[in-house]
Amino acid sequence: MKNNHRFRRVATAALAASLLVGGLAACSSPGNAGAEGATADDIATALQTETTLTVWGWAPQLEPIVEAFEAKYPKVHVNLENVGTGNTHYTKLQNAVKAGTGAPDVAQIEYNALPQFALSDALVDLKDFGAEELKDNYTESTWGSVSLNGGVYALPQDSGPMAMFYRADVFEKHGISVPATWDEYVAAGKKLHAADPNAYITSDTGDAGFATSMIWQAGGKPYTLDGNTNVSVDLQDEGAKKWTGTWNQLLKDDLLAPVTSWSDEWYKGLSDGSIATLIIGAWMPASLESGAEAGSGKWRVAPMPTYEEGKAAAAENGGGGDAVLKQSKNKAAAYGFLQFANGPEGSKIHAANGGFPSTTADLQSESFLNAESAYFGGQKINEVLVQASKDVVPGWSYLPFQAYANSIFSDTVGQAYGSKGDLNGGLQAWQDATAKYGQQQGFTVSTK
């Protein structure tokens, strides 16, 4: 699944913001938990009944999954609709939720957007369908991401434990060893840029998803949630400061390529090696293979650098699952689809089509771990990536209005990026703007 791209239109962000007002107002309406659950028998019956399900999602793996599902349950017809990627998708989903009609039965939702929909009463609590017992099938961090306020609001599909993807050829050419700590990473950045002024250790023009993941890895817990409406935001905690301590150095010395992630320029940099590393989620290999063909054989994967030598730490970056909407009239069949798509059968198809799974069985399978990637010069990349999934720092959560918060990242922290200033100041401004918005939406927001 895609992650934090920044091509969004201002209008879309503004629209998302305006609609959120109505969306969260639904918080106050009483939920009807427990009333819509179904037993395993109900679900099995629903899957043998003539039904049409609408599924909204943009992940390319959904198409083969849907085909396999329809082959197994010929009576259930699935309309798979790609209504947009990322924010566009969420805006449409929020529109339909607010309008009270037009929402799909099942929607793909990334982990960072899930609280927004779960807490605004748009999603079915899958506990009512017995999702609780699937807990052990998924990694701890992804299950943690779909468990909110004592409910389970989605089944995980993919995950994005972070790792460092790097250009072995560029490192070799300039005699740079693979950095294991962030200090070494900064030093590598300086050495590389001094040797070749066109080359950068990485690219970053300010990306909310990246920044939050980096704070996550550093041990920060800026967002906490207590009940449905009590939120605290603290972007000045120790973890956040650790990250800015490292990143400020790169920013100040112009060591970050001024290239927006996911742009064609970015792919160009990844192809020709002028962007030498990427700190990004484990789903990246498929995108590298398709977007940066010329980099084939030159990329490698290593664990993410750490703050303390020898003490592995990683974070999740992107990834998401599938949820059942309250508007659905076929909840039992919709949950049956989730069981297939996000269960053993679906996750195999997902992994075979370039996705990075969240299911422990797939992550631990010998064939997955031992797969040699030609693009990565025959490296067994999954060994590194699966280890990263085990090293994810526990205890992270996102805001129930993360989509909005991310949309104003560039207005606040982005300013610090633009002026090569202090990222701490930017994070403070982001915190203030986020808290203010939360208050306006009826949350009780405390800041430090």
Partner: protein, 323 residues
Amino acid sequence: MSVHLSPAQAEAAATLPAPSPSPASKPPKFPAPKFSARRRGGVTRKRTSILLTVLMGVMAVYALLPLFWLIVNSTKTQSSLFSSFGLWFSSDFALWDNITGTLTYNDGEFLRWLANTVLYVVAGAGGATFLATLAGYGLAKFDFPGKRGVFAVVLGAVAVPGTALAVPTFLMFSQMGLTNTPWSVIIPSLISPFGLYLVWIYALEAVPTEVLEAARVDGAGEFRTFFTISLRMLAPGFITVLLFTVVATWNNYFLPLIMLSQSTWYPLTVGLNSWNAQATTAGGEAIYNLVITGSLLTIVPIVGAFLFLQRFWQSGLSAGSVK
């Protein structure tokens, strides 16, 4: 990748034909303006300004460079897009492959989107132009109570951007069960306050009340008068409005984006953007070459329409320039 319509609109508005004081067919009553026009022309010819010429040259380059980029890059393959200089051709010429790829990708959904766009343009822009012409003419040539009120409403409506109305319209259409149907794109496109205002002002001058009175005396009904006499006099105004609405509907992005969720009803703008977004998805196929070629194919008809309609439009310009 989507085309913004505001600059095009602004540009077109800047060169809007002045309402002709008399229909083109009617010879000017006084020869004097001709004389003065000629003299003024002579003076202008001497005063060629290097500064202005350079400025216009820069503007021309500014406007044409993206088009040039589009043409150059539509000849490249996905991999050579990133390995060759952006403003010149690469060694491999893949335009035909790209066109074939664009037209056949995903069971030829590009062609489906093209057909949808044509439908929205014909029904939406055509309907909008027709309604604007009828209403503008009616407001210009008939007196009725509340006319000033209508005038105020229309003027106010010109100032409201369509984007601002998109969300309320969505919620309303959602209640009516019209979202995710072609109607949700066509119906809002039928309203063109700007076009109405334009025709209104144009009709005030272009259709002499005497002609209408003569027609009435001869026993023609109002609709017959409109279709057989007035419409011809209004042709330059009509074409201008048609041009605006066609361009606006062809480039319409935001409205279909929020109204439609089924890709089979997408117009080209939204469809191409969904192709573009593919590259930002893990495991998604990057098809920038097809997005670029698709964009090139998308602007060809609109450039064609502009050039074709411009001829009619110029007659309005010259008719106005005599006086």
